[in-house]
Subunit: 323 residues, 2 copies
């Protein structure tokens, strides 16, 4: 595929999605203060961010509401307490995990909801359930995207079939998700070409959700962009599971469209993210995440290791090699 756009111009198809509450919520069990969430909403609107993901629509049958903050569940009333009727140009997104969401009951018809976009997160082996969820949400009136996770561990033939299934569904977009932060720009370009080829054929768009295990989240995001990917996930100060995501401050600095404004992003970081870091929450690139990323493993063992504040990396590495 040819390059799309260049470093001097702005692509009108680009959309930035802030996933701070959702992926960052995996760091603190979604226990963000209302003040934080309100300030994030205002900062994103001012910064020109196109979508703000508020969290998950997790099933209250499966998850104890007393063990998580409210953004694990994203009740309509909780979102409205922050955004009112959302009289801004920014759209509201939530994520639904296949198998963890009682979508038939918990996702309201769009006409009754301030949510604009449902992001269906699925593993390759769950595709029929994902398609069912996509069609349900689409029929209710939402913009729907499908995030196929952990593709670095999926068989290519399975991934191709999954892509065909999404392509033939009513989904509006398909996301490339590097869950383990194990992919290099060279691989991301090939994957982006594959996704954009099928997406263009079926009139859908492609998104990128990167993890920073090898300090490649921003690089992979802008390389995917140059291959035609247009929906770009980022989080404030990279906040997200393990090594975190593509940093919003890097992405907004990079994009050339004058609608994007770095100033509110920096203001939010200095007023809200720095205190969060100083409160003791741990995320962002570190050597244990590099090792799980390099070995194409889920970051959970690195997250546990970091919580113990250990720095005996050689022991951790030999443990990983045994897995």
């Amino acid at each position: 595929m040819a390059q799309k756009g260049n470093l001097m111009t702005a692509r009108p198809d680009i959309r930035v999605l802030d996933a701070t509450l959702r992926d960052g919520g995996l760091v603190n069990n979604f226990n963000f203060s209302d003040e934080f969430v309100s300030a994030l909403y205002r900062a994103n609107v001012k910064a020109g961010v196109d979508y703000m993901e508020f969290g998950y629509k997790a099933s209250k049958e499966l998850f104890d509401v007393n063990k998580f903050g409210k953004w694990k569940f994203c009740d309509e009333a909780d979102i409205r307490a922050i955004v009112g009727d959302n009289k801004s140009d920014m759209k509201i997104a939530v994520m639904t995990d296949v198998g963890r969401c009682d979508y038939k009951n918990d996702i309201l018809p769009k006409s009754e909801s301030v949510i604009d976009m449902i992001r269906v997160a699925t593993y390759v082996h769950q595709m029929p359930a994902a398609i069912d969820m996509i069609e349900d949400c689409k029929a209710k009136g939402y913009e729907v995207v499908c995030n196929i996770m952990a593709i670095s561990n999926a068989k290519e033939a399975d991934l191709e079939q999954a892509l065909e299934m999404v392509a033939n569904s009513s989904a509006d977009g398909i996301y490339i998700v590097d869950s383990y932060g194990s992919l290099y720009p060279e691989q991301i370009r090939d994957i982006a070409d594959k996704y954009t080829e099928i997406a263009e054929k079926y009139g859908k768009y492609v998104g990128m959700h990167a993890h920073n295990n090898q300090q490649l989240a921003f690089a992979n995001t802008i390389e995917a962009t140059a291959r035609g990917v247009s929906y770009l996930d980022a989080t404030m100060m990279s906040m997200g599971r393990g090594a975190g995501n593509c940093a919003m401050e890097l992405l907004i600095s990079f994009l050339k469209n004058p609608k994007y404004n770095i100033f509110p992003v920096m203001k939010f970081i200095e007023e809200h993210m720095i205190p969060l870091k100083e409160s003791g929450l741990v995320w962002g690139y570190d050597i244990p995440y590099l090792l799980t990323g390099r070995l194409n493993q889920h970051p959970s063992s690195a997250i546990d290791y970091m919580k113990e504040e250990r720095t005996d990396y050689t022991n951790f590495y030999t443990d990983l090699l045994d897995k």
Copy 2:
């Protein structure tokens, strides 16, 4: 230019250069303990690192020896106190800054020195002096490379002329140096194509020295590699001026040649780099460096700002915009 090599194979022309003491020395005025330097030497040898840069050959007329650690000057005796006659496969490098090195006197004939490689660092506007230094060092018997710095601020026509001058000199190699950490992978690929084209014509190799202001040091290094660049600078835990460099742990994890071994790198980091970080030395990606990188400015103002432990990024940014 076509891609060179791929993610499954090892390129025999690749060389890794550890610049921890030299670029990291800019963080602590070269005040490394002998124990640290000895351990780094042993770790690099075990890890399969090809070159270890010990520091600068700075003029003692220009710089007060009482104000810097010994690796600012790299006396022959000091290097030999660490490496003896260097009975290893790893080569020893030092850097000489144009205008800051009394090279005619301070650089011994190769037959009297344990140093293997001289790295001549120059700005585009100093090229005649750089060429004089290159020829002097080459005549003395060294492998010589030329690091043209701050190319993101140089006029293209000037840079092309500088490249022609190095190409026609006796230098063995030419380095791409992203001093401000302002270049994106897309630009690095074009620059690498330009450098490798001229280098191949004149029988020289090309190197990459990246800075991590936008979390792109590793990405830019491996993207340059894929375009035929073969000498790759890295530092332990990214230690280097401001946002630091390409992390050795990322680079060694990436390279496929079985001669490279990540284990001694991790061991060195846990035993020596973590204590250095905990001692209060500050380097590595942070938002002020992102801002100077994005604005294509020298990181000095960000370094001063970080030393003051400030996090009022919006004030810093508006100050930068006034420069």
